[in-house]
């Protein structure tokens, strides 16, 4: 398949991995204290596990999984607000598939649907507009979330809705901006991150300039990376080279998609529709200044929060859960006491386990049996079987 297979070529990967091993040996890092590279984006986390990239790295390098999954950083209470809005008679509540199973305190949107709410999965907010046009008697609400990757599409959708003067369409806006999130992460005390793999899709919109503070203020190298295995291996090599050369800059590995200045049209649409407004609380990250995204006055009438006024629901997480620490790279998913027992993809406690982007779900899907194989009952059957055969 063109544009995919060339970025998964095993021969090229081998060359890159060999080079990584050579160069990593020159780093001031060791297997005991490896260079910690945070992949911010859930898409990268997924690719790492899917292709087993972490297992191919030299021991001096380690991936840590960042907060870049928009579903994972949603506080539980916001899901409760969604369910509350969805339960209003006459509301059609639309969401991306990821958010459907995220548990709130009073259940997930999927459970709200089972209880009779009209909750629908969409692939694009533009589909929601269509629903609004086709159902003039209903209030159609879109659960808008995501970083700069999805912000422009929501903006364009709102522009369209305003242009058409739709009165039965609104959004529950839980968008989040990446840069304040990174800044807050780096400002936290015991977080140790040595370098960043920045998400290609977000950067496609923002361009490269907004990342410069990470080099200048925090002294961390950063490479904007594509999502294919070769992209990611090359990006890691670029980071290693930077450290070897004692340089610290923002580099763009994903040039085929990410222009230096980003997408100016998307930026314009975002500026027209959204404003960074005040601090906002995010799961695992605490309160982040200037991270809340709200609608500009011209679009305020499309704000579902104003229209339906759901209760604010501060929800304390289970004290044993370590979602926040996983999100900030302080611990690995399986180190959470709930992992695999109180929290599985079938019965998730935290969003990191629900969303396929989430670090815990990825770990569970791709790594779980490595840690759990010892107590697998099947294993005993096999051993019995083998001894019978013998």
């Amino acid at each position: 398949m063109r544009f995919v297979d060339e970025f998964r070529d095993p021969k090229l990967a081998k060359t890159l991995i060999e080079r990584l091993h050579q160069r990593a040996a020159l780093l001031p890092f060791t297997a005991e204290k490896p260079m910690q590279i945070m992949e911010v984006c859930g898409g990268h986390t997924h690719a790492i596990f899917k292709f087993g990239l972490d297992k191919l790295l030299p021991p001096q390098l380690e991936f840590i999984h960042g907060p870049g999954c928009p579903v994972c950083v949603l506080p539980m209470g916001r899901i409760d607000a969604c369910c509350e809005i969805a339960a209003h008679p006459g509301v059609i509540f639309c969401t991306f598939g990821d958010a459907l199973r995220v548990p709130g305190k009073h259940g997930s949107l999927l459970q709200a649907r089972e209880q009779g709410a009209d909750v629908r999965v969409v692939y694009s907010p533009l589909d929601v507009l269509k629903l609004a046009r086709e159902n003039p008697a209903s209030q159609v609400v879109f659960f808008a979330l995501g970083f700069e990757t999805t912000l422009p599409v929501t903006a364009v959708t709102l522009q369209q809705a305003r242009h058409e003067r739709l009165t039965n369409f609104s959004i529950f806006c839980q968008h989040i901006s990446l840069m304040p999130t990174l800044r807050s992460l780096l400002s936290q005390e015991d977080v140790r991150i040595d370098a960043f793999l920045a998400p290609g899709h977000v950067s496609m919109v923002t361009g490269t300039a907004p990342y410069h503070f990470i080099n200048k203020e925090f002294g961390k190298p950063l490479v904007i990376s594509g999502f294919e295995p070769l992209d990611m291996l090359q990006s890691v090599l670029m980071l290693v080279e930077q450290v070897c050369e004692a340089s610290c800059k923002t580099e763009n590995q994903y040039r085929r998609v990410v222009p230096e200045e980003g997408n100016l049209l998307a930026q314009k649409a975002m500026r027209e529709v959204f404003a960074l407004a005040g601090s906002s609380e995010w799961r695992g990250l605490g309160v982040i200044e200037a991270s809340g995204i709200s609608l500009t006055p011209a679009y305020a009438s499309f704000d579902a929060e104003q229209r339906f006024n759901p209760q604010t629901q501060p929800v304390a997480d289970d004290p044993r859960s370590r979602c926040g620490e996983v999100l900030t790279g302080r611990c690995k998913p399986h180190e959470c006491p709930l992992f695999g027992s109180g929290c599985t993809p079938h019965n998730a406690f935290g969003a990191l386990m629900v969303s396929s982007e989430g670090a815990c779900a990825a770990w569970y899907q791709y790594r779980h049996q490595e840690t759990a194989v010892a107590d697998n009952p099947q294993r005993q059957n096999v051993q019995q079987k083998v001894s019978q055969d013998e």
Binding site: M1, V4, V373, R379
Partner: protein, 340 residues
């Protein structure tokens, strides 16, 4: 006749004249066979005829509730015949007789019903299967989604055939009969209005002719048709039933480029996508080449390949292009597309 579209009405389920007419003009005409034409409450089937063909009956049932009811490569009727016939065929049986029960929603276009019934009749006829008894119910608008079909089937298993997951051994080869996920991708594209020009049709087909030659072969251990849950679900069933594991080589999985494309786009895996015309077979290493060549002799199995083997370690693992193995989990429910 008026221009208004003729639709199923509550009268068609009343037991009265409207119903008799529909049964006669639509079902009896399409399915036409001596057992059905007797018009008794149950089909009367000759035991002698059955026992001449083998020593065990295979008996299965399945209900079809698919949305949309028409799709590239088939419709719900064709699916209802193929699905049940295939369940019989993978157990080693020759599918012989089918029953079918219709639940129709008031308002369903009679033209659509006619197309569905014709597809059922044609598919059954091509496969040498007789639809010998049936039932029709009509429910009020909203109480069902257009049409639900249940089919049950019986077939006969020849004495020599003993396929079962319990006979799987370490070192056996795992074979699929063709490309993965065609049905799932075609349906997803339509159902979710993705509007992609996939050029992929559902693989919906009766597999009995492809499977039949395998019955005389030693070393065929287990067969399943990979429907919902895809090949992944079957691998897990085999693993659970045998107590062994299965290791799959990802680079060998046959997937059409368009299906791969839709999967890449939505963050889904073709190994989890539904098929309606593919089998997974576990066979001894000695029988591997013979099975592959027999499958490839049939147009339904032209793309048959070995995708992996049975291992002692009771996990289902996937070895990727870069050489790293990972455990393949069974998704809890239908996987949902990712947002970014």
């Amino acid at each position: 006749m008026s221009d208004r579209q003729q639709v199923v009405t509550m009268a068609h389920g009343s037991g009265g004249r409207a119903m008799q007419q529909m049964i006669e003009q639509m079902f009896l005409r399409a399915f036409d066979n001596p057992w059905l034409n007797e018009r008794e409450d149950g089909a009367r089937l000759s035991l002698a005829g059955l026992s001449a063909r083998g020593d065990r009956l295979a008996f299965t049932t399945d209900s079809y509730v698919i949305d949309p009811i028409f799709f590239p490569g088939g419709n719900i009727g064709k699916l209802a015949v193929c699905g049940t016939a295939n369940d019989l065929a993978v157990s080693g049986a020759t599918p012989a007789y089918l029953s079918c029960g219709f639940i129709l929603e008031e308002g369903l276009a009679l033209d659509d019903l006619q197309k569905i019934v014709s597809a059922m009749a044609q598919t059954a006829k091509d496969a040498g299967i007789a639809i010998v008894t049936g039932d029709t119910k009509v429910v009020q608008r909203g109480a069902a989604d257009k049409i639900f079909i249940n089919t049950a089937g019986i077939g006969v298993i020849p004495t020599a055939v003993n396929w079962a997951a319990g006979t799987i051994k370490v070192g056996d080869k795992v074979i699929v009969s063709g490309t993965l996920g065609d049905h799932g991708a075609a349906i997803l594209n339509l159902r979710e209005n993705l509007g992609m020009e996939l050029g992929v049709e559902s693989d919906c087909a009766v597999l009995a002719p492809m499977i039949a030659p395998l019955r005389s072969l030693a070393g065929v251990h287990a067969l399943r048709d990979a429907t919902r849950g895809g090949v992944n679900a079957i691998l897990h069933e085999f693993s659970a039933a045998s107590g062994f594991g299965i290791s799959i080589d990802e680079t060998t999985l046959p997937v059409k480029p368009a299906v791969r494309g839709i999967c890449e786009l939505l963050g889904l895996e073709p190994i989890n996508f539904a098929n309606e015309g593919k089998i997974v077979a576990v066979v001894s290493a000695q029988a591997e080449e013979k099975v592959l060549s027999l499958l490839r002799n049939s147009p339904l199995g032209a793309d048959a390949v070995t995708i992996g083997e049975v291992t002692l370690n009771p996990q289902v693992c996937l070895r990727g292009a870069l050489g790293v193995s990972r455990q393949l989990m069974l998704p809890h429910t239908e996987p949902l597309p990712r947002i970014c």
